[in-house]
């Protein structure tokens, strides 16, 4: 051993470790265990169960956004807008975030056209979400956004506008706040108009900008436009004529229909009372009613031409056959029917011209109930037209087996049977179309329909037209339904109303007719419910409305006159003007 022994503190007994041998091993094992657990967890998250975390991560910046589809427009046959959806904004607030300065509150209230108190009231509500105002114009919304108020937000919505207002209200119907059809065409063509919103997945950066289109989940399907058969001008004419007549006669309600006899298109359909679809607060059921489609009424004498037509068709009578209607009363079973006044012996043509109930009943009773029922069925009475319009009625025609003779008699002049105005208008197409009935259409039709159904022969119709023309001529029941320059045929109907199964003293006045009689182009039907002033006979109430609508419509469509205007002038060469007599020779 050397002298210089290094000092080894190891051997210092004070420092001598006297640890049990298991302790370092234990610590080592514990550390190893921990790190193994970490490695295992990491491997689990990274390798085995990584889908969950990846999805979580992606959701921090990937978003599914909805791509809105706009609702299709509705236009008239000339392409004029009748219904357009345009974006509007709704302003909403999170009340707990909206801590506004009084000055800001005043500014906001002024823009929203609200009371400051009302606004404060909404902003202090305990809910998480309150609408401050819905459906604001984009300009206004922009100015509100510029205030940059905390807790005040906006969302985009669509609002439907109807430039035609009350003129087209019943035909178009309207949509709800969610832009879904609720009435009229809006409901009937909901599937076509609505479209479907699409959606796509995108990645947004932290400023909210879309940086990448991940996938298009569903492309939006834009709503398709619907082109109606309606002619805006004719619709306006029909509506104003009806509205004026309603005021003049202080009537409860009214409806008018204009049909194109060549194509079966509905050119106009007006109802009164009406409503403004752009502002639908304080609506009543009476205003919303589309009477032409949904209300069945007893048509009265408007039915007579069909019975006479059938009698001509079967050779039972000729227009010149004389029928004795004296003494103006007739008893069938226990009931008595009568004419408005005594008319004596009438030809069949005069029965139509003067609208004799007894004459018509005498013709009708030559048929069996089955034969009459079959005629009604062929004319489309008793079953809805199925145009897809909501709430369409088919009217009421009882089965022939249950008819008593008196019922068969009254049905021939339009009592004990009911139908809607549009059904009557359509049935009159047989007189306007040489005996054929075609389906009606609410949308524009290209070309002429070929699926007609024959009810009367052209010869019968020719004779009927001549008879119906006499109704508007001197001696007829509706001289005020005549139209200057055109030959017009039609029939009046003045029916008593039933309320609770009993006939009342209230009337429904109607007129259905066609023009020009030489080659009918239009069928117009007018119905005025409960006229209380200025007479109640159809000739004086509904006749002038018919005349006004028919005259304006024929002029709008540019239909050539088939009767000389008195005095009519014909321009053939510049400077030379022909007289009415020459005009007739030239036709």
């Amino acid at each position: 051993m050397s002298k210089q022994r290094p000092v080894t503190f190891n051997h210092n007994p004070l420092l001598k470790r006297e640890l049990p041998a298991w302790r370092p091993r234990f610590v080592l094992l514990a550390l190893l265990g921990c790190s193994l657990a970490l490695v295992g967890r990491a491997a689990y998250l990274q390798g085995i169960n990584n889908a969950f975390l990846q999805a979580k991560g992606e959701s921090r910046y990937a978003r599914v956004i909805e791509v809105p589809a706009t609702r299709g427009r509705i236009t008239d046959r000339n392409g004029d807008m009748l219904a357009v959806s345009t974006p509007v904004r709704s302003v909403w607030a999170i009340p707990s975030d909206a801590k506004l300065e009084p000055a800001d509150t005043r500014k906001l209230a002024a823009l929203l056209e609200m009371n400051v108190a009302e606004l404060n009231d909404r902003l202090s509500s305990g809910r998480d979400f309150v609408y401050l105002k819905r459906q604001l114009s984009p300009d206004l919304a922009e100015r509100i956004a510029e205030l940059k108020l905390p807790g005040i937000h906006q969302q985009q919505e669509y609002r439907r506008y109807y430039p035609g207002g009350e003129v087209t209200a019943h035909m178009l119907g309207f949509t709800g706040v969610e832009d879904k059809g609720q009435e009229g065409i809006e409901l009937a063509y909901e599937k076509i108009l609505a479209g479907a919103p699409g959606s796509r997945r995108v990645i947004k950066d932290r400023r909210g900008q879309i940086v990448e289109d991940v996938e298009s989940i569903r492309p939006p399907r834009e709503g398709e436009d619907v082109v109606l058969s309606m002619d805006g001008k004719i619709q306006y004419l029909a509506y104003t004529a009806l509205r004026d007549a309603m005021q003049e006669h202080k009537a409860k309600a009214g409806a008018a229909v204009v049909l194109d006899a060549r194509t079966g298109e509905v050119l106009a359909l007006a109802n009164a009372p009406t409503f403004n679809p752009n502002n639908r607060s304080n609506l009543t059921g009476a205003q919303l009613r589309n009477r032409a489609f949904t209300d069945a009424f007893e048509p009265g004498s408007v039915m007579k031409p069909f019975i006479v037509g059938m009698a001509l068709e079967r050779g039972k009578v000729k227009p010149s056959t004389v029928i004795d209607t004296a003494p103006g009363r007739m008893t069938i079973g226990t009931a008595t029917i009568s004419d408005s006044h005594r008319m004596g012996a009438l030809t069949v043509a005069e029965v139509i011209q003067k609208s004799s109930n007894i004459g018509t009943v005498k013709i009708a009773l030559q048929f069996s109930p089955d034969e009459m029922w079959h005629l009604f069925e062929q004319l489309g009475f008793g079953a809805p037209l199925n145009l897809g319009f909501p709430g369409e009625t088919g009217g009421r025609v009882r089965p022939a087996k249950s008819w008593r003779p008196i019922e068969q008699a009254t049905m021939s002049y339009g009592h004990g049977i009911s139908m809607s105005l549009i059904q009557i208008a359509r049935a009159y197409m047989v007189f306007a179309r040489d005996g054929e009935l075609i389906p009606l259409s609410l949308t524009k039709v290209d070309g002429l329909p070929s699926n007609g159904r024959r009810v009367f022969s052209p010869q019968t119709v020719k004779e009927m037209r001549a008879m119906l023309e006499t109704v508007t001529e001197a001696g007829g029941t509706a001289t005020r339904a005549h139209v200057a320059g055109y030959r017009v045929g039609g029939k009046t109907g003045t029916a008593l109303k039933i309320e609770g199964g009993v006939y009342t003293k209230k009337y429904v006045a109607s007129f259905v007719g066609f023009a020009p009689a030489s080659n009918p182009r239009l069928v117009v039907a007018v119905m005025i419910d409960e006229p209380t002033a200025g007479g109640y006979y159809a000739g004086t109430v509904a006749g002038p409305v018919f005349s006004r609508i028919m005259e304006g419509s024929l002029r709008t469509l540019g239909v050539a006159p088939d009767k000389p205007l008195a005095p009519l002038q014909l321009a053939r060469k510049p400077g030379e003007v022909a007289t009415a007599t020459q005009a007739r020779e030239n036709m």
Binding site: D80, T86, E212, K233
Partner: protein, 88 residues
Amino acid sequence: MIRFDALLVALVVASALGVVAAQHHARKLFTELERQQARAHGLEVEWGQLQLEQSTWAAHARVEKLAREKLGMRPPVSAQVIVVEPQS
């Protein structure tokens, strides 16, 4: 050998930078596309609003009122109508 490695590293770096640049470019283009689509949509909306405005100005009721009251127009009475027939 080392030179070759350095070359490869340089290529990898260059390619990586290229990817980044392309990605950036794609994003810029996409943002532009978004902007244009939004603009197209906005124009569509504006068109609808203009159509609406047009049909409000051209409403039959308004035209009739103007024609009658401001311009003093009225439908012709039959004596004023001259029918022009095509020469047959």
